[in-house]
């Protein structure tokens, strides 16, 4: 079968010495950054992206992919040991992971995390292998109307599904769209919003935006909130081995988590965060003894971690096959691909099969490396957590500055990092989630292009888009999503008013 040849080709590419080496670097650095409280997978990928510029496209993506799932894994280490999530999707791991470590069973928690992550990731990769060819063959029939619809859906989903305040999420997407318009309009050659700076003629530097918004703002916030409770346990090998009962209880959660995470990861706009939450909620609801959750139930770790890594892998599916980023980290990956001159999309699999399959195969290699690397090296990560934050953050600041400067040898970009760092900090202080902004920024120009084309083809008849089967149903889904969001906003307000009234009433008694 044709696919087998491609898969073999992929492994050949992935196991080349260079790619293997950079995969290892990526996984190692990613885990390191993930372990650091405050720097999540998004910041890690953004910060390490400039280092990949001097590499081949495949190698660069292999390394960045390694950083991504490495960071997700490292984040769970920080969650379990310090009750501080390293990345947003690891927040769920704190709930049962931290109590386990408090009971002296940190080794077990870390071990189960590693295994669950590996198995979940493997499932995600199998999905990637299996589904991608199918999606690509369908996608070749996609026209600009379909792409437009899917992108809009992705934007709305990203803005509303994981947010407590959907209006703010949508505002962030809109802001990202606006920032994406800065630069030269391809169609007319007019430079939009350039404020007289020629450096802006190609648009806002994506790296500067990502590193400023996420890296710098993250650092500022972490300086003030770093609550470092020293971690005093020794984590030995023996403490890691789970009992037979625990193994038995983890099997189904891992499988369920992988399925749930894989599904949510593949949808454009949603990613690992929601996959982990749903996975945890399902386990708790299905469990025969829900009261165990929150006190160190092993299912409470196995399912979310498996979901997490499955979602991380399947998020690559829409990104690589359709060219539509599945999450904000995928947006960064896409940015990296575009910078290397590789256009992700249905043609990628046909024109550059070595890149596509090499990348896919490298994910599995990376997951194996993660497994092999992290079991013995846990002690190192634990020690990293003991370094006071004040030594780490100036180093990271310098990394960011050097990284951004080296892209175009431009101090203008450093100034941009400064500006977006400030903006990012202000927005986060005002409780905005920044990730949707990045998705809006990347998708904005693509949406414009597709809308323009669609309007040309259908001569301005917007209804055409809604009448075509695929784009119509996707837009319909989007509309339902918006309706649900609107209901959620109203419902939240009613609930809050009711709670306030109850409070007032009980105070009066």
């Amino acid at each position: 079968m044709d696919v087998w040849n491609d898969i073999l080709l992929g492994f050949e590419v992935a196991l080349s010495t260079t790619n293997l080496m950079y995969c290892f670097f990526g996984v190692f650095l990613g885990t390191f950054f993930g372990v650091l409280p405050g720097i999540g997978s998004l910041a890690a990928v953004s910060i390490l992206m400039p280092i990949t510029f001097y590499l081949e496209p495949t190698t660069a993506l292999v390394m960045l992919g390694g950083v991504y799932y490495g960071a997700e894994y490292g984040g769970s280490t920080s969650s379990i040991l310090l009750n501080l999530p390293g990345t947003p999707s690891n927040a769920v791991t704190c709930i049962d992971g931290y109590p386990l470590s408090q009971q002296g069973r940190a080794g077990l928690a870390l071990f189960m995390t590693t295994i669950a992550s590996f198995l979940g990731g493997t499932f995600g990769i199998l999905a990637l292998f299996g589904l991608s060819p199918i999606i690509v063959s369908v996608a070749l029939a996609f026209g600009p109307a379909e792409y437009f619809a899917i992108m809009i859906f992705g934007l709305i989903a990203a803005a509303t599904v994981t947010q407590d305040a959907p209006a703010k999420g949508l505002a962030m997407v809109a802001l990202g769209l606006l920032l994406g318009t800065v630069g030269t309009d391809i169609n007319s050659g007019v430079a939009r919003y350039d404020l007289g700076y020629f450096e802006l003629h190609e648009g806002i530097s994506f790296i500067a935006l990502a590193m400023g918004l996420f890296g710098v703002s993250e650092i500022i916030i972490s300086i003030t909130s770093s609550v470092h409770k020293p971690f005093n346990q020794k984590v030995t090998f023996r403490s890691m081995i789970p009992t037979g009962d625990e193994i038995r209880r983890s099997v189904m959660p891992i499988i369920r988590g992988a399925g749930i995470g894989g599904l949510f990861g593949a949808l454009p706009g949603t990613g690992p965060s929601i996959g982990t939450f749903v996975g945890y909620a399902v386990e708790k609801r299905i469990s025969r003894d829900p009261s165990r959750f929150g006190k160190g139930a092993i299912e409470g770790i196995a399912s979310p971690e498996s979901a997490n890594n499955a979602a991380v892998q399947t998020a690559f599916i829409p990104t690589l096959t359709l060219g539509i980023p599945g999450s904000s980290v995928m947006a960064v990956m896409m940015g990296a691909l575009l910078i290397h001159g590789v256009a992700p999309g249905p043609q990628l699999m046909n024109n550059n099969p070595d890149i596509f399959w090499g990348l896919a195969a490298s994910f599995w290699v990376g997951n194996v490396l993660l497994l092999v690397l992290n079991l013995p090296v846990i002690g190192l990560w634990v020690r990293v957590l003991k370094i006071p934050y004040r030594f780490l953050y100036p180093t990271v600041i310098c990394l960011i500055c050097i990284g951004v400067y080296s892209v175009r040898t431009s101090t203008f970009d450093v100034a941009l990092v400064l500006l977006f760092g400030l903006l990012g900090y202000v927005l986060r202080m005002l409780k905005f989630e920044l990730a949707p902004l990045l998705i809006g920024f990347i998708l904005g120009p693509m949406i414009e292009e597709n809308l323009r084309r669609a309007m040309l083809i259908y001569r301005g008849d917007f209804l055409e888009i809604m009448q075509r089967p695929i784009s119509g149903s996707v837009l319909g889904l989007t509309f339902l999503l918006l309706v649900w969001t609107g209901w959620k906003i109203v419902h939240n307000r009613r609930r809050r008013t009711r709670e306030a009234m109850d409070l007032a009433l009980s105070a009066n008694e």
Binding site: N187, T224, A415
Partner: protein
Amino acid sequence: MTFRTDKGELLAGLIIAVIGSCFLFGAFDYRVGTIVRMGPGYLPMAYGAITLFLGLLIMLLSLGRDGEVPRPSLRAALAVLLSIASFGLFLPRVGLIPAILVAVLIAMRGDPDARLKTSLILAGSVALAAWLVFIEILGLTMHALRLPF
């Protein structure tokens, strides 16, 4: 009647609305066109209008709730931002090593417990490591040290 509002949310919505309107009015400098023949200003106008609307929506939703404006931590923010600014100023003029030294020293001011000796040691090590990794090993095009004359 006193207005109860979540002041933090109000400010958030206001900032968004302001940004949106800036882009919206800026979009009219470019030809807007029609939906069939979109000019460069069409989508910026649309996005700007949507942003403005969302900003106003957020402001509206803040009414009837309570909340304060969050207080930022000025010390940390200033330290980090000034550190980046100084890096950007020093690097092209005096080279990588002085830029890092200054950046790290300024950045460490953000931590109230940082001491001068530790800062100097850290600054020196980071500068040395960066020089080794970025200029010697990776070969990036920047001066390690130069005179600004």
